[in-house]
Symmetry: C2
Subunit: 610 residues, 2 copies
């Protein structure tokens, strides 16, 4: 018998013991984090599927695993023999999980559903409950982590990460925690709320000027925050807090509580008036504890954390540091591109073959050697040929492509620094490429330049601007199936909101007016399944431009100074303005990186001017 089918059978025993008809096991932690640590990889342990996105639902008779198109092949292989059935998300006739749960209730009056209330958001559960016929009874068992208990009883469940919390110096934060808390309290007052509960880790780190190391690539510590008009609480793991951190928090009049005690705290707090919380972020259990404690669902005001909006607008100190660290990071990335071009030439003249793993390792090595580097902002993607058509491809030691001195390699990477988080993508020719590849690279370049050079009137969101990046591709019947850009944190998460560049509003995604101080990536691309992938990505900073009789205008300051591989550019497809803009860009790269890269790199850069 398959080990996973055994685990699922044992889970069914536990379900029977508590009277659960179905259980949901998602891939998430208590903070809706983008990366989930080993401790919370329960779904992986239960099902054997190792992909990053998957939700398992087990009933008496069925075990279903929802995952997306990136993982259909891998998932099918990994769950073979387990008795688990894959549910292909987004495909026709495949119900959503909420629809599936509702369908289970078609022939019955009541259903008992178990899930770990700490790792599913209030919004997810509310959505699920709404789908159920009002006349029927859906009973939720959310206090126990049945699958987690099983894991602990049968196997060694990894401990929760507990890295030491670090202080972020005022030279990097630019604003004290006390001042940030005051701003948050103003925002709470505007919403007529006396209390605010936050579980979003990067928001908490920003608010208290702390950093941590509990989530892969995100410099955040596991924590919660609770702010009232008089008090500020932070919930941290005991072992994560040094004396220095304790003293610092005391100096800012922030009360430290134990991470484990948050739910009791939420139940016991003497609430006054309304409580503000982001139901898309906080857990169902936290939501229930607030309701239990307060006795009133209507006193919870749902909305985006005020910290999310405040954090998105970088202050002068942050901007000054970002400029410097982006330059350092750009120098390393430029050295990498030069190395790639040189390495490709060696390969063409019979030198050793290049692998994706080697490319990624070289890129990481150069970045980690940058003064001040504190690691990567996400796992480096180095994807050769058709692998680059997969937007979230990651080569591993076990599975990687060997490059040839032809075609293109796409490298998407970024670093963490005390004053910045970077994100950059370049696509580089390793030798001859097809006309189609060159043409499409040039179309991407046109869109990339157009967005970077945009100026717009105050009030625009990414929805207004997206067509600038996408237009040259749309003109040829090409589209990329993702947004054009996302916000980027400052020594925080590489993906942050609320701003983004998207043409279409997607359920659950935020849309924010672009304000000076916000960052956003500019990353159009072309992805041809089974053939190749192209993406060119810079990180931009929104800046104020001018005030005229017609209004206030904004534009972008560019933060990333990494060259474009001119071997991939069809010059005749560029307008005179575009050629000008590209030459200006490369001249700036040379000027800014002048004393940060080697002479041979400068020589290489000079040859890019057309």
């Amino acid at each position: 018998m398959n080990i996973y089918s055994e685990r699922i059978d044992k889970l069914r025993e536990k379900m029977r013991e508590v009277g659960a008809d179905a259980i949901i096991v998602p891939t998430s932690d208590a903070h809706n984090s983008e990366y989930v640590g080993d401790h919370d990889q329960i779904r992986r342990w239960l099902s054997g599927f190792t992909g990053s996105n998957g939700t398992l639902v087990v009933t008496k008779d069925e075990a279903l695993l929802w995952t997306d198109g990136r993982y259909f092949i891998q998932c099918a292989a990994e769950i073979a023999g387990s008795g688990i059935q894959m549910m292909k998300m987004g495909e026709k006739d495949v119900p959503r999980i909420s629809e599936y749960i509702a369908s289970l209730m078609e022939d019955r009056e009541e259903l008992t559903l178990s899930f770990d209330g700490r790792v599913m958001t209030a919004f997810e559960i509310n959505t699920l409950v709404e789908k159920v016929d009002e006349t029927k009874s859906l009973k939720l068992l959310y206090n126990d982590d049945l699958a987690g208990e099983l894991w602990l009883s049968l196997d060694e469940r990894p401990k929760r990460s507990c890295e030491r919390v670090k202080l972020l110096d005022m030279g990097f934060s630019g604003l004290s925690a006390t001042d940030k808390i005051s701003q948050v309290r103003e925002a709470m007052e505007a919403k007529k709320c006396n209390q605010l509960f936050i579980s979003k880790l990067d928001d908490i780190m920003w608010l208290f000027n702390l950093r941590g190391g509990d989530v892969e690539c995100n410099p955040v510590a596991l924590s919660y925050a609770f702010i009232s008009q008089d008090e500020a609480f932070i919930f941290l793991q005991k072992d994560a807090v040094s004396e220095a951190v304790r003293a610092y928090l005391a100096s800012q009049r922030i009360i430290i509580c134990d991470y484990e005690d948050v739910y009791e705290f939420l139940k016991d707090y003497p609430y006054e008036g309304k409580i503000y919380a982001d139901l898309r972020e906080i857990s169902h259990l936290a939501y229930q504890c607030i309701i239990d404690g307060n006795g009133d669902k209507d006193s919870i005001v749902n909305g985006m954390n005020p910290t999310t909006e405040l954090k998105a607008v970088k202050n002068d100190t942050e901007i000054k540091n970002m400029r410097e660290y982006f330059l350092r990071d750009s120098a390393a990335m430029t050295e990498y591109i030069y190395w790639l071009k040189k390495r490709a030439k060696e390969m063409a003249s019979g030198g050793e073959v290049l692998t994706e793993v080697e490319a990624a390792a070289k890129c990481d090595e150069l970045r980690k050697a940058v003064e001040g580097n504190l690691g990567l902002s996400f796992p480096t993607i180095a994807a050769y040929g058709s692998n680059a058509a997969m937007m979230h491809y990651e080569a591993t030691e076990e599975s990687y492509a060997i490059c040839k001195p032809e075609g293109m390699i796409l490298t998407d990477c970024g670093g963490q620094y005390p004053g910045a988080t970077t994100d950059v993508t370049r696509t580089v020719a390793l030798g001859p490429v097809s006309d189609e590849e060159k043409t499409n690279f040039t179309l991407v370049l046109k869109g990339w330049l157009s967005l970077m050079n945009a100026q717009w009137i105050d009030g625009c969101t990414g929805r207004n601007l997206d067509i600038l990046a996408r237009g040259p591709l749309w003109a040829k019947g090409i589209d990329y199936k993702c947004g054009t850009g996302h916000g980027v944190g400052c020594y925080l998460n590489v993906h942050e909101g609320p701003q983004n560049i998207r043409w279409k509003y997607i359920e659950g995604s935020s849309e924010a007016v672009l304000k000076a101080g916000m960052t956003v990536t500019d990353e159009p691309g072309v992805y041809v399944d089974g053939k190749y992938g192209i993406r060119t990505e810079n990180t931009l900073l929104v800046e104020d431009r001018c005030d005229t009789a017609d209004g206030h205008f904004l534009g972008f300051e560019n933060l990333t100074w990494v060259p474009i591989d001119m071997d991939l550019v069809v010059t005749k497809l560029l307008s005179a303005d575009e050629i000008n803009s590209l030459n200006n860009y490369h001249n700036e790269v040379i000027k800014r990186l002048g004393d940060r890269v080697s002479d041979e790199v400068i020589q290489y850069l000079q040859m890019l001017i057309i």
Copy 2:
């Protein structure tokens, strides 16, 4: 004593008789029409203010008139001595009407408000009621038209327009009323509604393939429609219906009722299930009658009329006719532009001066001479110099500018035809113009071309596309304070929804995905207060372009073929692609108008190629 202050005092007597504390007198008819006929110009009669936008509110002590920036000067002059106070809409510290009414109730527990329930929409009144503190009582007297009664008793109130209703041939409609009603019933079913009430006149005309002449420039008849799954009713004025129309309606199984009986009908109808209605369109009285008849507010489903969406997508017959009539209209407009240029030259060499009134008259004369012309689609705007900076300027016999052989004249005009409604604007130099004017004309041209040449993926709305037209202006810190484009009817209203080209969502404006068959204008502009105005406007038709691996793509077919005044173009500001596009456009104008305009016009057109 001023005649208007007398009228307002008499109105106050009537208010006292019925116990009304305040009365609202808006500028509107029972159909939320864009143009309001003489019969419904009660506010004008009461206040003396002749502008198109104004709402009068009278209380025991106050008489306030809300109007917008176009009319501040005119209104102040016209209401002088009446005791009426102007309320400048949009200015700081000027409350909205709903806020004013709410403020009247600050110191009292109840207020009785009178208004004519037939000419205020359900949405307007609902908004007003929402603003009032729940604990207080706002009593609405909406059955009587106190101001109208006063008018009738003191003076000669113009009769309601009652032009004969006309049939629209299948050669123009392309689809029978029976088939359209079936489509509407499908849409009703999708909304789970058994009944639909429509008061929007162009929707009703479209649905039943009728036309009328009761609203200025809009070929619509005063009417209502009520559709159930089994029956279709039209409410028309008795004297407007000929035997032929009666017979036609009978042949389509459409029941004719008297226009006056609609409210009784709505009260008495044996409703089953839900009733669909657009609360932004139907009157408060109609809304109340449905509720009174049905006894249930919750059975009204509020949403855009299904006819609005169906009407917006033109069918093949309509498109074929539109192409032909737009060409005819373009020929007349091109003759007009040639005439303007010639006339300006004559003026420069000592010929008679040109006036705005003469220009508009010439334009109208040429258009009315077009085979099939059925009048104008809106009053022609011919605005010289600084007058063109006012977006809704209209010269009159009493007040008009005299042109000089310098600067620019802006002409915005359109016609009605049995197969089309046209809308076109051109700005023409009458002699020397400043560099700034030329530069800005060229920026407008760049945006105009960019939008016209756009291709985009299915799902986009005007919000995604607007920056194409506005981008070249935004790049210079210039903006125009209106949308870039609006939908255009087919032998119907020159402004129709739900589609439009706007960068910003405005409360109450609709936003629709652009679908093949929809029309939209492309009319960027520059308006410099007190100096000059520039606008270039074509009407475009959305067309399907291609299906690729990445999706379905759409673009525009151009319908308007009228030349651009190259005397205003700074060629060096145009890219090679833009010059190409402009030359292609003028070559098409020559090709398409070849046998429709005089030889000297063709010679003129040939000189526009650069």
